[in-house]
C-alpha cells in the first residue's frame, strides 16, 4: 500500500507542475474567478509563478534544515505576507521591480542549492522580508475595494498551505539522493534568477 502511494507522487508532482507552468501571465488587477473574493486571492497567487517559486524555495530550504525551521517559516511567512499586503493595499500604486524579483530567485535558489546551514533567526528574517516584499506587491496590485481584504486572506491561506506541503515533503526525506534532488531544484531556481536578471537589465 505504501509503495502504491509513493509511486503516484511523481505523477501528481508532474501534473501539478504542468498546471503551474501552463498558467497565464499574471495581471496587476485581481481577476474574478466567480467563486468570491477569497478564491480570487487564492487564484491570484496560484497564477503568479514569480510569487510561487520563491515561496517554494524558502519552504524547501526550511524543510532541509528540519521541522523546527519549517514550523517557524509556516507562521512567519504568511503573517508577513498579510502585513505587507495590507500596507500595499493602502498605497495602491504599482512598483514591481524585476531586478529585485530576480534577486529573490538567485538568493533563495542559491541558498537551497548550497544547502546553507542558516540559523533559525536568519531563516525567520528571510521569511519576514520575503513575505513583506511580495505581500506588498500583491496588495498594491489588487487595488482598493471592499473585498480586497478577503482576497488577501485567500492569498495568505494558499501561502500557508504551500509552505506546509513543501516543507513537510522535504522534512520527511531521508535518502541522500532525494535531498540532492531538492538541492538541484534550488540550482535551477538560482539559474532562472540569473537569466531573469539578464532580461531585466536588457529591458532597461
Amino acid at each position: 500500500m505504501k509503495d502504491a502511494i509513493q509511486s503516484r507522487l511523481p505523477f501528481y508532482s508532474f501534473f501539478a507542475f504542468t498546471f503551474v507552468m501552463c498558467a497565464i501571465p499574471a495581471e496587476a488587477h485581481l481577476n474574478s474567478t466567480g467563486m468570491g473574493p477569497f478564491y480570487d486571492g487564492f487564484a491570484h497567487f496560484i497564477l503568479s509563478p514569480e510569487d510561487i517559486i520563491p515561496v517554494i524555495a524558502l519552504a524547501l530550504l526550511a524543510g532541509l534544515r528540519g521541522a523546527n525551521y519549517g514550523r517557524r517559516t509556516l507562521f512567519v511567512l504568511p503573517t508577513a505576507w498579510l502585513l505587507g499586503g495590507l500596507f500595499g493595499v493602502m498605497r495602491s500604486t504599482s512598483s514591481n521591480n524585476a531586478v529585485l524579483s530576480a534577486a529573490w530567485f538567485l538568493l533563495l535558489g542559491g541558498l537551497l542549492a548550497a544547502d546553507a546551514k542558516l540559523s533559525l533567526r536568519v531563516t525567520t528574517a528571510l521569511a519576514a522580508f520575503l513575505g513583506v516584499y511580495h505581500g506588498y506587491l500583491n496588495g498594491e496590485g489588487m487595488g482598493q475595494s471592499a473585498n480586497t481584504a478577503v482576497a488577501l486572506l485567500g492569498l495568505v491561506f494558499v501561502v500557508f498551505l504551500l509552505v506546509a506541503l513543501a516543507a513537510a515533503f522535504v522534512v520527511r526525506l531521508r535518502k541522500q539522493w532525494a535531498r540532492i534532488a531538492v538541492r538541484v531544484a534550488g540550482s535551477w531556481i538560482a539559474a532562472s534568477g540569473l537569466l531573469m536578471l539578464g532580461w531585466a537589465v536588457r529591458a532597461r
Binding site: 501534473f15 542549492a113 540550482s187 535551477w188 539559474a191 532562472s192 537569466l195 536578471l197 537589465v201
Partner: protein, 202 residues
C-alpha cells in the same frame, strides 16, 4: 476489472489529455525567437545538436565519475550557463563562441571516451568554462518576450533534463559492457563536436 496493468495506462491518457488541453493558442504566423513562455524556453536548448551533445556528455561524464561528480557537474553547468546567458542578454560580447561550443563537445566526449578522472574541482571548472559559451550563445539569440520568468525556467529545466538523460544512459557504467558502450558514446560525441568545429572553421 481494474487490474494493475490497466491503471498506469489510464494515468498516461489523463496526463496526455491534460497536456493537449493546455496547448498554446495557434497563431497564423510563426513567432520566431520570441520568448513567449515555458514551452518556448524548454524547446530552445533542444534546438541545436551541438548544445544537446555537450549537455548529454556532461551527464555521461558525471555518471562515469560517480558521486559526488554525478550531481555536482549537472548543477555547475546550468548555474554557469545562466551566467553566460545573462552576459549574452546584457550584450556583453564573448569571442569564439561557436568554437567554444564545438570544443566543449570534443573535449567532454573525449573525457568520456578515455574515462578521464580528474579531481572534482578541475572537472567542475572545465564543465563551467564551456557552459559560459553555451549560455552566451543562447542569451544573444533571444529577443525580449512576454514572460522572462517562464522562458528562463523552461530553458534551465530543459538543460537539466538533458543532463538527466546523460546520467540515465550513464547508469550502464556498472556493467563491463556498459563501460564499453559509454566510451563509444563518448567517441560519438567527440566526432559530432569535430564536425561542428569543422563547420565553424569553414
Amino acid at each position: 476489472m481494474n487490474t494493475p496493468r490497466q491503471r498506469p495506462m489510464v494515468r498516461e491518457v489523463v496526463l496526455a489529455l491534460f497536456v493537449f488541453l493546455c496547448a498554446e493558442m495557434a497563431f497564423a504566423h510563426p513567432q520566431k525567437g520570441e520568448a513567449v513562455g515555458f514551452l518556448t524556453g524548454f524547446r530552445h536548448p533542444l534546438s541545436g545538436l551541438d548544445h544537446v551533445l555537450a549537455m548529454v556528455a556532461v551527464g555521461l561524464w558525471g555518471a562515469q565519475l560517480g558521486s559526488p561528480a554525478i550531481w555536482v557537474l549537472p548543477v555547475a553547468f546550468p548555474m554557469v550557463m545562466a551566467v553566460g546567458g545573462m552576459l549574452g542578454l546584457m550584450g556583453v560580447p564573448l569571442p569564439w563562441t561557436e568554437y567554444g561550443i564545438a570544443l566543449s563537445a570534443i573535449l567532454l566526449g573525449a573525457a568520456v571516451m578515455f574515462e578521464v578522472r580528474p579531481r572534482l574541482g578541475i572537472a567542475a571548472a572545465l564543465v563551467g568554462f564551456f557552459a559560459i559559451f553555451h549560455g552566451h550563445a543562447h542569451g544573444t539569440e533571444l529577443p525580449p518576450g512576454q514572460s522572462a520568468l517562464l522562458y528562463s525556467m523552461g530553458f534551465v529545466i530543459a538543460t537539466g533534463c538533458l543532463h538527466a538523460l546523460g546520467i540515465g544512459i550513464g547508469t550502464v557504467h556498472r556493467w563491463v559492457w556498459g563501460q564499453k558502450l559509454l566510451r563509444i558514446a563518448g567517441a560519438l560525441v567527440a566526432v559530432g563536436g569535430t564536425l561542428f568545429m569543422w563547420k565553424a572553421v569553414a
